[in-house]
C-alpha cells in the first residue's frame, strides 16, 4: 500500500512539474495572527486551483515553489482567508485577521465532519466542551440538560453514572426506541451507558434534530442523532501538558414534605387511627417519654455527603503533519447514600496524521475504560419498583420515628428490635419479621452493609478512519469502529444478612445467595465512502458522496447463581456448597443446586447511501440524502428507503443586504425527509421481530416444556418518521445577538406498537407490529446576546443565552383502541395522557372521599367508569435552559438554569404516607393530622375510618412535576500571563468553584421532581453538588 501511495504521489508531482517547470521559483514568508501579532503555525498555504500546498511551521514560516502570477491562498481555522498573487518578490508575509463569526460557527455533521455553519441547511444544536468539561455528573447524556433546544433530559436515579432518558423534539415512538442514536467518533454506541467514559475528552456534541441532518443515519436516526467528537490535538500546536483536578461533595436535595415525629405519630395513632397500633393506650406522659428518648429522623441516618474526586492528566501534541490527544483519568464519586458509588479509570489516545500534501489523512480514536459501580436497592435498579423494603429512599418516608437506629451500646443497629419485629418475645430471631414492614429501616441498613450489588465494566471504543484524496476532487475513505463492553455483575447476599438468611430456606444448613453475570456486547461498524467535491464554476460548488456501511451487534450474557455459602468465605467461589449435597428428612432435598444460564443474540444492518450538497455563491444551498437499509430484525419487509431534501438561503450574502449593517447572519432553512427506525425494542432479547419462536423452559413436573413465544407479525417493517423543518438562523449587531429559530412537524408512520389480536382466536392479546401514526409539532428557539464584549477598553464580557422547546404531541391514528389504563395513549390525544377519576376532596359533612363523575357532578362513589382525560401528560410541553456567562479580567461566572414544564407524574410515595390503611407500620405525613373528625370540618384528608384509599384515589396524587432548577453555577479564575510567566513552567492555570442542582423550584411534594418514570415511587433523587477544582497547563 505504502509503495503504491508513493508511486501515486510521484505521478501527481511529475504532472505538476511538467506543467510549471519553466517559471518556477521559491517563495517564503511568515504568517502572523492579526489579534496578537504572534506567528501562526499550521496555516495552510495553497496554490489556488492546484493541489500544491504547504503548512506553516512552529514559527509561522513557510516555503513553497510557485510561479509568478499564481495565487497563494492562506487559510486557518477561525480566520479570514487571505489571497496573495505572486509577483516579482520572493517573500510574502501575511497577517490573518480573526473571523469571529466563522470561528464559533463550525458545525459537526453526520458523515462529513466539521462544516461551516453558513452552509448548513438542517437543524443542528452544538454543545461545546466548556459546557461539558469538569462537570461532576458522570454521564454525558445527563450533562445535556438545559444545554440545547429541543433536548429533553430526565434522569431516573441519583446513582453516580446513571444514564438519562433523552427525548428530542417529543416522543416519536410508542413502544419502539425513542431515544437518539449516539455516535462517538463515527462509532454508534450504547445509548444507555456512558458511566465509563470521561467527558473531559469531549470536544463537542452535535445534536442533529431534523431529517436533513439525520436521514443519513436512516436506520436509526428517527429519534435524533447526537454526534460526540473527542479531542484530537491541533497540528502544529506543539506539546501541551495539562493536569486537571476536582474535589466535591454531593448531598440530597431538600424534602418537600414533612413526616410526623414520634410524639405526633403516637398521639395520632392513639387518638385518631382506628385499629390496634403501638400508640394505643399510651398516656401523654408515656408518649412524651418515648419521644424524648427516641425521635429519629431517618434521613439523617440514610443520607450522607458523598465525595467526588477526579484527577486527570492530558497531553496534546501537534507537529506539522500529526496531532495527538492522550488522557488518563481517575474519577470517583459517592452517592448521597451509603453503598452507592462509582469508580472509574479511563484512558484515551487519539492520533491524527496527514501526508505532507494533506491528501492522505488518518485518525485513530481509542478509549479504554474500567469502571466499578456499587448499587443500592433503589427504584431504578433492574427489576425494582421502588417498593422494595430495603430501598434506602423508602425509609425516610415510612421509617417509624419512635424506633432508634442505634443499639444500646451506641453502634448502628442493622438487625432490628423486638418492637420492629426482628425478634420474637423469647429473644429468638424472626426472619419474617426482620423482612417485614416494621423493620424496614433496619432491613435497609442491613442489606446495604451485608449484601453487594456491584458492576465492573470494561468499555472500549475504538475507531480508525482514513481518507485519501486520490484524484482531483475525489476522496475515498473508510472507517472501522467498535464499541466493546464487558460487564460483570456481582450480587451477594451474605448468609447472615436478612435477605440471605432465608435463602434457600429455613431448613437448609447453609444460607446466602451469590450470583454473577457476564455481559459481552460488541457493536462493529464499517463505513466506506467516495466523495466528489468540486467548484463546477466560480460560484457553484458540488459535494457528493456515496457510502456503504455494515453494522453488527452481538450480545452475550451468561452467568450462574448459587444458594448456600460457607459464611467465612462468602463472596468467593470457595464458599459454594456442592450442588449434590443432599439434605432433608429422607436425604432427598437438594438445596444448593446452582443455576446457570447463557444467552446470545445478534443484530446486523447493511446500508448504502448517498449525499449531495450544492452551494451557489454562498447564497443558496441544496442538500439531499438517500439511504437504503436492511436489517436482520425483519424478514419479509427487510429493507427501508429513507431520504431528505433541504434548502437554504443565506440572505445576508445577498447584494441587497450589503447596506444593512446590523445584520451579520440571516439564513433561512427548510427541510423535509423520512427517517427510519428498526428498533422495536432496545432489549437484546428481542432482536428477532419477524420470526415466530417457541421457547423451551421448565414445564409440568419440571420436564422440558415447549410454549409458544410472543406472537409475531412476519410483515413487520420499518417505523418511519416524516420530518418537516423550517428555520431561521440569525446574527444581528455584529453577531452580538445570534440565534436559531425552528418550527417542525414530525409525523411517525407505521408506529411500532402492539396491534390487538383476539385472545380467544390466537392466544395472544397483541402482536408487535406497525400500527398507527403520531405527530409532534413544535418550536425550538435558541438565542444568545452579548451584552458586553471584552475589548482593550472594557474588561467585562457579559453574555446571556436561552434555549427552549415547545412541543405538542398527538396520536393521530391508533386503530385498536386506547392503550393503558390511567396513563393512556389514544387516538386524538397526546401520548401518555392521564385518564383517571377526578378526586374532589372530602365531604365536610361526614369525611368521606368525594369524586367527580363523568359529567363533573360530585359523587361519593368511586367508579372506574368516571375516568376522564385530565388534559395532563407525562411528557413536558416546555423544556429548555437559560443562563449567563460573565467574565471580568481573570474571573468568569457561568450559570445555567434548566426547566421542564407542564409535565405530570403520579406521586406514589406520598400516597403511601397518606394512607391510613398502612399507618400501623408506616410513618405518616403530617398532613394526616388534619384528617376529618368533626362534621363541618373542611380538610383534604378523609376520615381515617375509610382506611386505605390507594386503590380508589383517582387523580389525588397526580402532581405537577414541572421544575426550574439552577443546574450549574461555576465561578472560575484564570491566572494572568504575568503571574504564569513568573512560574516559568505554567502556561495556564484556572481554579473554579462549582455548584450543581443548587436550587430546584417545583410543586412536586418529594425530593426531586425530575424522574424518568410516570410514577414516582421512592426514587433516588439526583444530587446537589459542590465542587472545587483546578486546571494547570504546562
Amino acid at each position: 500500500m505504502k509503495l503504491k501511495l508513493t508511486w501515486l504521489m510521484t505521478l501527481c508531482m511529475a504532472l505538476v512539474m511538467n506543467l510549471s517547470f519553466a517559471q518556477e521559483k521559491t517563495v517564503t514568508g511568515t504568517v502572523t495572527s492579526g489579534s496578537d501579532g504572534l506567528p501562526l503555525p499550521g496555516v495552510t498555504v495553497l496554490v489556488k486551483n492546484t493541489t500544491r500546498g504547504q503548512q506553516t511551521d512552529f514559527d509561522g514560516n513557510y516555503s513553497i515553489k510557485v510561479s509568478t502570477g499564481e495565487v497563494l491562498v492562506f487559510t486557518y481555522v477561525g480566520t479570514k482567508k487571505v489571497e496573495k498573487t505572486v509577483g516579482s518578490g520572493n517573500v510574502i508575509n501575511v497577517t490573518l485577521e480573526e473571523d469571529t463569526a466563522e470561528l464559533e460557527e463550525v458545525v459537526i455533521t453526520g458523515y462529513r465532519g466539521a462544516t461551516n455553519s453558513a452552509k448548513i441547511a438542517s437543524s443542528i444544536a452544538t454543545v461545546d466542551a466548556e459546557a461539558i468539561e469538569q462537570v461532576p455528573i458522570n454521564s454525558l447524556d445527563q450533562v445535556l440538560q438545559g444545554n440545547a433546544a429541543g433536548v429533553n433530559v430526565a434522569t431516573g436515579s441519583g446513582q453516580p453514572g446513571q444514564s438519562a432518558t433523552i427525548i428530542i423534539r417529543g416522543r416519536n415512538s410508542i413502544s419502539g426506541d425513542f431515544e437518539p442514536l449516539f455516535i462517538i467518533d463515527g462509532v454508534p454506541v450504547d445509548q444507555d451507558n456512558f458511566r465509563s467514559l470521561n467527558q473531559n475528552d469531549i470536544e463537542t456534541m452535535s445534536v442533529l434534530k431534523d431529517a436533513a441532518a439525520t436521514a443519513i443515519y436512516g436506520n436509526r436516526g428517527a429519534g435524533g442523532v447526537i454526534l460526540v467528537t473527542t479531542k484530537k490535538g491541533k497540528k502544529g500546536g506543539g506539546v501541551r501538558v495539562q493536569y486537571r483536578s476536582l474535589y466535591g461533595i454531593s448531598e440530597n436535595p431538600d424534602a418537600q414534605f414533612d413526616m410526623m415525629n414520634s410524639s405526633q405519630l403516637l398521639t395520632w395513632q392513639r387518638d385518631l387511627l382506628p385499629g390496634t397500633q403501638f400508640g394505643d393506650g399510651l398516656s401523654d406522659a408515656e408518649i412524651a417519654a418515648i419521644a424524648n428518648n427516641t425521635n429519629t429522623d431517618w434521613r439523617e441516618i440514610f443520607f450522607q455527603q458523598g465525595v467526588t474526586q477526579s484527577h486527570e492528566l492530558n497531553i496534546t501534541t501537534g507537529t506539522e503533519n500529526t496531532s495527538s490527544y492522550t488522557s488518563v483519568n481517575y474519577f470517583e464519586q459517592e452517592g448521597t447514600t451509603f453503598g452507592s458509588s462509582l469508580q472509574r479509570f479511563s484512558g484515551r489516545f487519539n492520533y491524527s496524521g496527514s501526508s505532507a500534501d494533506n491528501k492522505f489523512n488518518y485518525n485513530t480514536a481509542l478509549t479504554v475504560n474500567f469502571s466499578r459501580s456499587s448499587f443500592i436497592v433503589d427504584a431504578a435498579r433492574a427489576g425494582n419498583t421502588g417498593g422494595q423494603l430495603d430501598n434506602a429512599f423508602l425509609v425516610p418516608y415510612i421509617g417509624l420515628p419512635y424506633m432508634s437506629p442505634f443499639n444500646p451500646d451506641g453502634s448502628l443497629n442493622i438487625v432490628g428490635t423486638e418492637i420492629s419485629g426482628a425478634f420474637n418475645s423469647d429473644g429468638s430471631f424472626n426472619p419474617n419479621g426482620a423482612a417485614g414492614f416494621l423493620n424496614t429501616p433496619y432491613l435497609a441498613l442491613n442489606t446495604v452493609r451485608l449484601a453487594d450489588d456491584i458492576e465492573s465494566e470494561l468499555k472500549s471504543i475504538a475507531s480508525i478512519s482514513v481518507d485519501y484524496n486520490f484524484a482531483k476532487n475525489l476522496t475515498f475513505g473508510n472507517t472501522i469502529g467498535i464499541d466493546y463492553t464487558n460487564r460483570e455483575n456481582f450480587f451477594l447476599q451474605t448468609p447472615e444478612s436478612i435477605r440471605g438468611i432465608n435463602t434457600p430456606n429455613l431448613a437448609s444448613a447453609f444460607r446466602g445467595f451469590q450470583s454473577e453475570s457476564f455481559l459481552r456486547n460488541i457493536n462493529l461498524i464499517n463505513t466506506a465512502f467516495l466523495r466528489y467535491d468540486a467548484d463546477i464554476t466560480d460560484k457553484l460548488n458540488v459535494n457528493a458522496a456515496v457510502f456503504g456501511e455494515y453494522n453488527y451487534t452481538n450480545t452475550a450474557v451468561d452467568g450462574y447463581n448459587q444458594t448456600g455459602l460457607i459464611p467465612a468465605l462468602a463472596g468467593s467461589g470457595s464458599a459454594f456448597i456442592a450442588g449434590d449435597t443432599a439434605e432433608g428428612e429422607n436425604g432427598d432435598v437438594f438445596n444448593y443446586i446452582p443455576g446457570v444460564f447463557s444467552t446470545e443474540s445478534e443484530l446486523a444492518l447493511a446500508s448504502v447511501f448517498a449525499s449531495l450538497d450544492l452551494d451557489y455563491d454562498g447564497k443558496y444551498g441544496l442538500s439531499g440524502t438517500i439511504r437504503r437499509d436492511g436489517t436482520s430484525r425483519f424478514v419479509e419487509n427487510r429493507y427501508g428507503t429513507f431520504w431528505s431534501l433541504a434548502g437554504r438561503w443565506n440572505i445576508d450574502n445577498e447584494s441587497f443586504m450589503e447596506s444593512v449593517d446590523w445584520v451579520s447572519i440571516l439564513k433561512a432553512r427548510i427541510s423535509y425527509g423520512i427517517v427510519g427506525s428498526q428498533s422495536i425494542s432496545t432489549l437484546a432479547s428481542q432482536r428477532y421481530n419477524a420470526t415466530q419462536t417457541v421457547n423451551a423452559g421448565a414445564g409440568y413436573q419440571n420436564n422440558v416444556g415447549y410454549t409458544t413465544g410472543a406472537l409475531v407479525d412476519p410483515q413487520v417493517q420499518w417505523e418511519e418518521s416524516n420530518q418537516f423543518n423550517v428555520g431561521l438562523s440569525f446574527g444581528f449587531l455584529n453577531n452580538r445577538i445570534t440565534g436559531e429559530f425552528d418550527y417542525y412537524i414530525n409525523e411517525t408512520n407505521e408506529l411500532f406498537n402492539s396491534d390487538p389480536r383476539s385472545l380467544a382466536q390466537t392466544g395472544f392479546a397483541t402482536v408487535q407490529t406497525n400500527v398507527g401514526t403520531m405527530e409532534n409539532r413544535g418550536v425550538d428557539l435558541q438565542v444568545s446576546f452579548d451584552i458586553l464584549r471584552k475589548s482593550s477598553t472594557n474588561p467585562w464580557s457579559v453574555r446571556v443565552n436561552a434555549n427552549g422547546n415547545y412541543n405538542r404531541n398527538e396520536v393521530t391514528s391508533l386503530p385498536g383502541g386506547p392503550q393503558g389504563v390511567t396513563l393512556r395513549t389514544e387516538e386524538g390525544q397526546p401520548i401518555f395522557s392521564w385518564f383517571d377519576v377526578r378526586w374532589a376532596g372530602v365531604d365536610p359533612a361526614n369525611g368521606q372521599p368525594l369524586y367527580l363523575d363523568i359529567d363533573g357532578n360530585i359523587t361519593n362513589e368511586f367508579s372506574t367508569a368516571n375516568r376522564v382525560y385530565l388534559d395532563k401528560t407525562f411528557d413536558p410541553i416546555y423544556t429548555g435552559g437559560f443562563g449567563a456567562d460573565i467574565s471580568y479580567k481573570g474571573f468568569t461566572l457561568n450559570t445555567l438554569f434548566s426547566f421542564a414544564a407542564d409535565r405530570w407524574r403520579n406521586n406514589g410515595s406520598l400516597a403511601i404516607v397518606e394512607d391510613a390503611g398502612l399507618a400501623g407500620f408506616s410513618n405518616q405525613s403530617v398532613t394526616m393530622l388534619n384528617a376529618w373528625t368533626t362534621p363541618g370540618q373542611v380538610t383534604d384528608i378523609p376520615a381515617l375510618s375509610f382506611g386505605g384509599l390507594r386503590a380508589i384515589d383517582g387523580d389525588r396524587y397526580l402532581e405537577d412535576a414541572s421544575f426550574l432548577r439552577l443546574r450549574n453555577v461555576t465561578l472560575a479564575y484564570n491566572f494572568s500571563r504575568d503571574v504564569l510567566d513568573k512560574t516559568n513552567f505554567l502556561s495556564g492555570a484556572r481554579i473554579f468553584f462549582q455548584g450543581i442542582n443548587l436550587i430546584t423550584w417545583s410543586k412536586w411534594r418529594g425530593f426531586d421532581p425530575e424522574g424518568n418514570q410516570s410514577g414516582g415511587f421512592f426514587d433516588f433523587p439526583v444530587a446537589r453538588q459542590f465542587t472545587i477544582g483546578f486546571d494547570l497547563t504546562f
Binding site: 419479621g433 386505605g948 386503590a951
Partner: protein, 471 residues
C-alpha cells in the same frame, strides 16, 4: 478509478452483507421446525399443562369473597381484588388470557401431531403419542369449561351466549361467542374423545377417565342436569373414599396421602404451583408474611374438633391460633412450600351429589351426603338430620362447601350458583370490612357475578359482543 471504487463499495455493502442479514434466534426454536418427533410433542404437552394457570381461580374465589380480608402485613397487595373491583380492565386475574393462551399451546401441539406418525416399532411411542392427544383434548375441555362458567351469560340456558370454542391454530381473526349449548357440546365432544383415548390411565397427576367423570359431575350440577350430576358423582364416590382425619392432615401436610384425590396438579421442586403465595410473601415462615388473611368470619366457623380447623388455621409450627393466617398450603418436612393442588377430591363429589339431591327434592339423601363429609372431618359421630326445605338444604351444603373447599377455588362461584335458592349475594362480616376494605358486598343481582369480556379482547374483536350486562 472512480468506477472501480464504486463497484468495490457496492460489492461490500450490498451483496456481501445481504446474507449477513439472515439471523436466526440463538436461544429459541423456530415455530416452523419445532415439532419433529413424538418426543417434541411430549415437550409440547409438558408446556401446555404447565401453562394452565391452576391458581387463577383459587386466587379469585378467595380474594373476591367473604373468605378473606386484608392481612396485617399488607403494603397494597391485592387491594383491587379486596375492594371487589371487577371491570373489563381489572379484576379477572387474567383468566381469559391464561385459558386461551393455554388453549393455543394445545392447538399447536395437536396441529403438529397430525403431521407426526408414531413409530409402532419403538416401544411405547404409540402409547405416548395417544396419551399426549388425550391430555390435549382433556385440558382443552377443562379450559373452555372454566371460561364458559365465568364468562358465559347463563350456563343453565343453552341458548344464552357462551364463549368461543377454539380448536385450531389461527393467527388473526375475530370469532363470535357460541351459545352455551354449543360450547357445552364442544366440551363434551373433547371429553368423549379424551375418555376413549385415555382408557385405563390412572396417574392422578394427569387427566384420567375419572377426571373426566368428575368434570362431568361439576358441569352437570352447574347446568341443571341433576341426575347427571348424581350419576357422575356416584361413580367417583364409589371409587374414592373420604380421607379420615389423619389422612386429611397428611393430605394437606406435605402431600403424604392421596386417598380421596381424583386429580392433582403436581408440584415438584423446580416446578411448583403452590397456592401459598396468593396470600403470603415468599421467604421464611407464614408468620408476618401475610398480605391477605382468612376472614374472621370464616375462622370463626371452624369447630376445634374439626380437622379442617387445624389444616386451615394451624397447619404450621409456630402459628398462633388467632393469627387467622391461611395455612392450607404449609411447608413440607423440608421447609419447602411445595404443595400439589388437589383440584378434584371425592369430598367435593359428595357435596355435588348432595346439592343435586337437594335440588331434586331428595332432602334425606342430601343430608346423608353432607353427613358423610362432616363426620369424616370432625371428632366423634356427627349426624345431619334430613332437611326440611330446599333453602335449608342448600344453605347447609353451601356452609359445608365453604369449610371443605375454602382456598381451593370455589367460594365465589358457589355463592353465585346457589343465589337462585338462597336469594343472597356475598357480604363480608363487619369485622372483616373495617377499616381497610370499603366494598364488602356483591348484591345478589350484581353484574359482578358474570365476568366482563376483557378490554383487550374487545379492542381486537368486535364480534365477541355482547358484553356481559352491566359493564
Amino acid at each position: 478509478m472512480k468506477n472501480k471504487f464504486l463497484i468495490i463499495l457496492a460489492l461490500i455493502a450490498f451483496f456481501g452483507c445481504e446474507e449477513q442479514l439472515d439471523r436466526s434466534p440463538i436461544d429459541a426454536l423456530r415455530a416452523s421446525t419445532t415439532f419433529q418427533s413424538v418426543g417434541d410433542l411430549e415437550n409440547g404437552m409438558f408446556g401446555f399443562i404447565g401453562s394452565y394457570g391452576i391458581n387463577t381461580l383459587t386466587g379469585f374465589n378467595s380474594l373476591y369473597s367473604d373468605n378473606t380480608t386484608l392481612g396485617s402485613n399488607n403494603g397494597g397487595q391485592e387491594l383491587n381484588a379486596l375492594q371487589l373491583i371487577l371491570d373489563p380492565d381489572t379484576g379477572d386475574r387474567g383468566l381469559w388470557a391464561n385459558r386461551y393462551s393455554h388453549i393455543n399451546d394445545i392447538n399447536r401441539v395437536l396441529e403438529a401431531a397430525e403431521t407426526i406418525e408414531p413409530d409402532p416399532n419403538t416401544p411405547g411411542e404409540v402409547d405416548t403419542y395417544n396419551f399426549i392427544l388425550g391430555q390435549a383434548r382433556g385440558f382443552r375441555a377443562l379450559a373452555h369449561w372454566d371460561l364458559l362458567l365465568y364468562y358465559g351469560l347463563d350456563v343453565t340456558d343453552p341458548s344464552a351466549p357462551g364463549v368461543v370454542y377454539q380448536d385450531f391454530v389461527e393467527l388473526n381473526g375475530n370469532p363470535s361467542r357460541l351459545t352455551v349449548g354449543e360450547t357445552l357440546a364442544a366440551i363434551q365432544a373433547d371429553l368423549d374423545l379424551a375418555n376413549e383415548i385415555l382408557e385405563g390411565e390412572t396417574d392422578k397427576s394427569y387427566i384420567t377417565p375419572d377426571f373426566i367423570t368428575f368434570l362431568r359431575a361439576r358441569i352437570a350440577l352447574e347446568t341443571g342436569d341433576y341426575d347427571g350430576a348424581i350419576a357422575n358423582a356416584t361413580a367417583i364416590i364409589d371409587q374414592y373414599p373420604l380421607a379420615n382425619q389423619a389422612q386429611y392432615l397428611e393430605m394437606f401436610g406435605g402431600d403424604l396421602n392421596d386417598i380421596e384425590v381424583v386429580w392433582r396438579y403436581d408440584s415438584v421442586q423446580g416446578f411448583n404451583a403452590t397456592a401459598t403465595f396468593i396470600w403470603h410473601f415468599g421467604g421464611g415462615t407464614l408468620l408476618d408474611a401475610d398480605f391477605v388473611k382468612m376472614s374472621s368470619e370464616l375462622a370463626g366457623l371452624f369447630q376445634v374438633d374439626d380437622v379442617r380447623f387445624t389444616v386451615n388455621l394451624e397447619n404450621e409450627v409456630d402459628i398462633e391460633a388467632d393469627s387467622e393466617l391461611i395455612t392450607k398450603y404449609p411447608p413440607n418436612a423440608n421447609q419447602l412450600y411445595i404443595n400439589d393442588v388437589k383440584a378434584m377430591r371425592s369430598s367435593e363429589a359428595y357435596l355435588i351429589r348432595a346439592e343435586a339431591h337437594a335440588r331434586n327434592g331428595a332432602f334425606d339423601l342430601a343430608a346423608a351426603d353432607v353427613e358423610s363429609v362432616r363426620d369424616a372431618r370432625r371428632a366423634g359421630t356427627i349426624t345431619v338430620e334430613p332437611y326440611e326445605s330446599t333453602v335449608e338444604a342448600i344453605e347447609d351444603i353451601l356452609f359445608e362447601r365453604r369449610l371443605e373447599l375454602c382456598f381451593e377455588g370455589h367460594r365465589y362461584n358457589d355463592i353465585k350458583r346457589t343465589r337462585d335458592i338462597t336469594g343472597e349475594g356475598m357480604s363480608r362480616a363487619d369485622a372483616d370490612c373495617a377499616p381497610a376494605s370499603v366494598n364488602c358486598e356483591i348484591p345478589v343481582d350484581s353484574e359482578k357475578w358474570i365476568f366482563p369480556i376483557p378490554t383487550e379482547e374487545l379492542n381486537a374483536n368486535p364480534n365477541i359482543l355482547p358484553q356481559a350486562p352491566g359493564y
